[in-house]
Subunit: 327 residues, 3 copies
């Protein structure tokens, strides 16, 4: 018999969005991934005795509106590892420690529609975002009482071990209804042929959460810095604060403000996004939801709600209604 | 535990076909998808109480003769939805309502080897076919006594909601051993830069079926029209008639004639295909089959048996023997 | 309920390798597939009565270090077939009979890190290797007492049935602790436009094995020949000999020497590889392992350990430690 659990979710919605093209009209869209990226996965574990477990996970992302891959094959997760009293070690391709630790501090839970916590929306080359996942990864996660901690390393696989190497560390502490998180990551570039120097991208995250009964309050920030020889530094800080309130056992409200403080250049876009969502649970596995969001940028610069799409105006708003089913 | 059912089929055969290349020789081929496209899927439902159910389905097509994807990832089906007494609503990527309603009227059940019901075979740009599936789809299907009805909408996602939009509607009525079906679809193009006008493709289907005991008789037609500014209209009518006869509980015969009446141009190919198949059921999940087919075109124009392959002569014939296993 | 078994393995390791790039430094790598290629598959069978069974299998290869496909979709296996007292017949895409029969004679079991049994490592166009799998395949395998035999045919699907056709045959005989194997394959090219002649590649394999209690001794050779009009023949012989020793129920040692005798050209690389591995079984499904390997070529020619990677020096060595979990 099989030792595998097949799991996933399909999340689809119908929405209206403005400024989604060059002519800036309203557009009706049928989208995949309102609350979470649609996905399919295969996961399992084996008890090895003495508190030791073997683990594996394979997970793909799906753009259910067109049926194609959201990310190639198992680029969301492809890992094998061991879990013991000392923690968990995974090898393969996986989300980073920073991605894992910051997630609970985002009231939208990294929703594709819409959250800027994993990456902002900006019209230039940079999205001022965190690294979602590392290739060639070793990841450790442990726990001691109320303290959780972890680290991820992604090998650069160049002949100098620092070139292209990636690292992420994070800690989380809980004290009664309060939690706090700090996370740091550094992504090394590879040396440029001309100068022999390499740039890097670093990001700090700090977060705080209050969770009591049916109310959760979350706030966090990211300090982002990108340095490369011969080009001006890219710097930005993202701040967000929001809440999740369970109004009834079936109805949950979420609301957040994200503010991207761009800290380089002359006329900065400094975009703001406000997102609200009502979620109605038909069961523990099936939800209906309505999400509304608006984003604005300064100085007539372009902005978009989705972290993966270019903006066509200095303002964008959207309303959508959808369904998510987990299996 | 898992709430997912993993299902699929692998269908492979060995066949000989003539006129399959420029030198018009006979070719031995080992093919995937004689009776049905090989596939793998993940499907599930959840009872939400009060007659309501949540549904999801992910299905990929497989070219088992080479092991690659027949269609990228889950482009056959990637849906989530709800089912109630009022019918079923699905969101995602899926076969259209017309595809679903015409299927039972094709004695070959859209067999890749060989049916022209979903699309004809023609050497030009048009296959005079139906839309198989829509991206960005909303699909409804309902039932009232002996009447079934449905509609599909595929959002164009342009800033004018009509550009690139797709629609399909169909009804089916049963009265004792008789059934009748009518189906309509319209696929809007996008405006051409030069003229600002957009073309569209429309198709009507009508069908009738008599089903009693071990015999089924099916006949149907498609009226196809493609219009675009600055080019002559493309018009064609496809007619087919055929039968399925269960000779013994294990042996089923199928036979059909497809006739494509091209209704534009001077010398029209007007191709005809005759297909016959013997199916021997080893079990409810495993079949052996032998299929023979011949196609002819007029005026020395080219024709092929398979709807996806170019022809190299004005005649083509093939015999093949295969196995299909469903899981 | 489902008739499918979902299975697979994830195999990841951390290693150091030298001469892995133009600057010949040591490189830290996190790799997928140390002992076996990471994979996910779907397999099932149906009892048809009278000793007859229907079979299917779909299997993909995974590069778990990056999460992408190692081979497109189900290019490892995509088959349907029947099994009876007379043997097994499969249709689809699958490993060849030669691949299946030679496998038990390789002490490293075709390990990506490292075995040259399926293909050698050479810096030129040829890897002097076997065909791993055939598209458009019919494969038969049978058994009579201690004699196993099989044949694979991969249709060329050209209008001359010989063009591009592929064939493989093999036999294996067991007598007490001894086994012997002989295998032959031939891969036809397609005719060149200029000359109308086609080349072909042939390979003979011979192997012997002694297996008693906790010790297995394996030796085999391949005679490889590639002929094409207008170019000199490519000829090489690969020899290998090695052992698997179960030191304790949990600890297995493996060691092999591969020697590639290049038999054309003036200064021949004639590379040698020595590989050793310690495997520690945490359970029947989970192993830890340490592998060390060194390869050398003559005349300053380039060589690499991995059969799929170019070499950057006339010597390469590597040590790696990993985990494999099967599900």
């Amino acid at each position: 018999q099989s030792n595998v659990n097949v799991y996933g979710l399909v999340d689809m919605n119908i929405g209206v969005i403005d400024n989604a093209g060059a002519d800036k009209g309203n557009t009706l869209r049928i989208n995949s991934g309102g609350m979470n990226t649609s996905r399919l996965g295969f996961v399992g574990s084996e008890d090895l005795g003495g508190g030791l477990k073997a683990l594996f996970q394979l997970e793909m992302g799906i753009a259910a509106d067109t049926g194609v891959a959201d990310t190639p094959l198992f680029k969301r997760q492809a890992t094998v590892g061991l879990e013991g009293r000392w923690g968990t070690v995974l090898l393969g391709r996986a989300f980073t420690t920073v991605y894992d630790f910051v997630l609970p501090y985002d009231p939208m839970g990294y929703a594709p529609q819409y959250s800027w916590a994993p990456a902002g929306n900006a019209s230039g080359a940079s999205k001022y975002g965190m690294a979602f996942a590392f290739d060639n990864l070793v990841k450790y996660q442990g726990k001691m009482g109320n303290l959780s901690y972890g680290a991820s390393y992604g090998a650069g696989e160049g002949s100098s071990s620092g070139d292209g190497a990636k690292g992420a560390v994070a800690v989380n502490y809980m004290a009664g209804p309060w939690s706090a998180m700090a996370a740091y990551e550094r992504i090394n570039g590879v040396p440029e042929a001309a100068t022999g120097t390499r740039g890097d991208t670093t990001a700090w995250h700090l977060g705080a959460m209050y969770s009591a009964g049916t109310v959760k309050l979350q706030a966090a920030m990211r300090d982002y810095r990108q340095e490369a020889a011969g080009t001006p530094d890219v710097r930005a800080r993202l701040y967000w604060a929001g809440t999740n309130v369970m109004v009834t056992p079936a109805v949950t409200l979420a609301g957040v403000v994200y503010y991207q403080d761009v800290r380089h250049g002359a006329a900065e876009a400094d975009p703001v996004m406000v997102v609200g969502r009502v979620r109605y649970a038909l069961s523990r596995r099936t939800d209906l939801y309505v999400t509304a969001a608006i984003a604005k940028a300064k100085h007539g610069l372009l902005v978009g709600l989705a972290r993966d799409e270019a903006g066509f105006g200095s303002r964008q708003k959207s309303v959508l209604a959808g369904i998510q089913h987990r299996f």
